[in-house]
């Protein structure tokens, strides 16, 4: 694979830069999982991060959300350096996430899981926002309304994905960082989920950093795409240019 052939200069994108990840390297013990990863995301953009299993996608989100300390590089969000901040500081800045494995509170009710999503908001803000947020979430995922009193671990895989996304939305974020929200969904549901993400971006003005193995589904809704390979950015480009590229099609989208 020859790299950078497909890369476009980052500056060709319009819009105000919201998130900038600059030369991030991260390690698990001595094993390097991210090598000098640089990417940016503009406001109200959907940026997809694709790559095969073990490429380092989840690691990148772990660094962004503050779960994993990186060794080099810088993360800037809305002009402010947030690298190395603890998860609670990151979510307060407006970055909410759906992590790998969902990390829901299984024995607690759907309602409690959602309410806990707003944990970092101050009391006043919670009062103002909670009802409207819940309404918005039920509007996006009507099934959650019927499941409100049920334990989270009794939901189906798809419903748990919705709940995890709902919980993230309760924090009133500016940017959503999602780790494989299509994982374990039936094909029909994947399309619905992607449509929902597009709606969040268009109607609610959110930006989305979308980690996916399901490249086909993600690229449909993405504005810009980065492809990770063994911890490095191999390819980047506008979604349409990547989609039109025959050799990339073969390599990453199964022909």
């Amino acid at each position: 694979m020859t790299d950078s052939t497909y890369s476009q200069p980052v500056t060709s994108r319009t819009g105000e830069c919201q998130l900038r990840i600059d030369g991030i390297s991260a390690f698990y013990g001595e094993a390097q999982a991210l090598r000098d990863v640089t990417l940016r995301l503009n406001s109200q953009e959907i940026v997809a991060i694709l790559g095969s299993n073990g490429a380092g996608k989840s690691t990148l989100l772990r660094v962004l959300t503050g779960l994993l300390k990186h060794r080099q590089g810088r993360i800037t969000f809305k002009g402010e350096d947030i690298s190395g901040k603890e998860p609670d500081a990151v979510i307060k800045k407006g970055i909410a996430s759906v992590p790998e494995g969902r990390e829901l509170f299984g024995p607690m009710t759907v309602h409690d899981n959602l309410l806990l999503g707003a944990y970092t908001l101050d009391k006043q803000k919670r009062k103002e926002l909670n009802d409207a947020r819940l309404k918005m979430i039920f509007d996006l995922f009507p099934v959650l309304r019927d499941r409100l009193g049920q334990r989270a671990d009794t939901l189906s895989g798809g419903e748990q994905q919705m709940l995890a996304l709902g919980r993230a939305l309760m924090a009133n974020p500016v940017l959503l960082a999602l780790d494989e929200p299509s994982l374990g969904l039936a094909p029909m549901m994947v399309a619905t989920m992607m449509k929902t993400l597009k709606r969040l971006c268009k109607d609610y003005g959110l930006s989305i950093l979308l980690v996916e193995q399901n490249a086909k589904a993600a690229i449909e809704i993405a504005d810009y795409v980065y492809i990770l390979e063994r911890g490095e950015v191999r390819v980047e480009g506008a979604a349409c240019s990547i989609m039109d590229d025959a050799s990339l099609q073969r390599a990453y989208f199964g022909g």
């Binding site: 779960l67 998860p87 996430s97 992590p99 509170f105 607690m108």
Partner: protein, 293 residues
């Protein structure tokens, strides 16, 4: 005669059972949040009683003495989390067992040096004129002990189920990664839970002191029995309350009708039986049998 004797033993059983239940809740409060079996839990009970006695002996009246006794124990518990537990580089159950046991010995030693080895007594809060139930004697202090259990257990359930911070505590005990990602500061939660356990343990030690005396070493048995009922109760509040009262009753009736010497042995016997039954791995036993055939 037999009936009032039984009532008398039951009253004494419920009294110590209430304390076991509170101490059991202290164990779970720390264990469920941080995975630490805190073997100095009993020392919080001792500190509550001894510090309150100390403040009273310095001339404080009862309520301020109780307040300072609880406050100091809370501070000790939080310092312990901050100084002894949090800095552990390679946390494991064995490490924590050793560390907390050692911390308990240190606390006991300091109290022994500072206050001596005599047993101490706090005057009953509401005097000692008994309420008679037939021929059985019910001390007002017993009513206080049972009410404190009800308040602590009930208050905790309300707090955990109906406040956002309480829900956050439950969430932290269920899934730490998830809790951190929604912005819960897990370190603060742990610190809070150590403090809470310290406070509840101290209160238990204070309200029981007028009935059972206090002294530098009372924490050992109280702590151990708290662990027994937390285990038996499946680390839940309701389960622990039931197990605490059951163990108390068993002891009270056993001590009354059989012999006082049996009292502590009974609790340890219940714990050992329970632990052995629970850890029995039936499949490996089968394998063992088959191998020898």
């Amino acid at each position: 005669m037999f009936i009032s004797e039984t009532i008398q033993y039951a009253i004494s059983g419920i009294t110590s059972g209430s304390i076991y239940a509170i101490v059991g809740i202290c164990w779970s409060t720390v264990f469920l949040i941080s995975g630490v079996l805190n073997f100095s839990t009993g020392e919080f009970v001792m500190l509550g009683g001894m510090l309150t006695w100390l403040f009273i002996s310095w001339g404080f009246s009862l309520l301020p003495a109780i307040f300072f006794g609880v406050a100091c124990t809370v501070i000790v518990a939080m310092l312990m989390e901050r100084i002894v537990i949090r800095p552990v580089r390679y946390p494991s159950e064995t490490t924590f067992l050793l560390i907390t046991t050692a911390a308990g010995s240190v606390i006991r030693g300091i109290v022994l040096i500072a206050c001596g080895s005599d047993t101490r007594h706090i005057e009953p809060f509401l005097g000692s004129s008994p309420i008679m139930i037939g021929d059985a004697v019910l001390l007002p202090q017993v009513i206080i002990v049972v009410s404190v259990l009800v308040l602590i257990a009930g208050g905790l359930v309300m707090f955990l189920d109906h406040t956002l911070f309480g829900k956050a505590l439950r969430a932290s005990s269920i899934n730490q990664v998830g809790a951190r990602l929604i912005g819960i500061k897990i370190n603060r939660v742990r610190l809070f839970c150590f403090g809470l356990a310290g406070g509840m343990g101290a209160i238990a030690g204070i309200v029981i002191a007028p009935i059972e005396f206090t002294g530098y070493s009372v924490g050992l048995m109280e702590g151990l029995k708290g662990l027994v009922v937390a285990l038996l109760g499946g680390w839940t509040i309701r389960g622990t309350v039931v197990a605490g009262l059951a163990l108390g009753l068993l002891e009270g009736l056993g001590a009354g009708f059989i012999s006082t010497g049996w009292k502590d042995a009974l609790a340890l016997f219940v714990m050992l039986t329970f632990l052995i039954i629970r850890t029995l791995d039936l499949t490996s036993i089968k394998k063992l049998v088959y191998r020898h055939e």
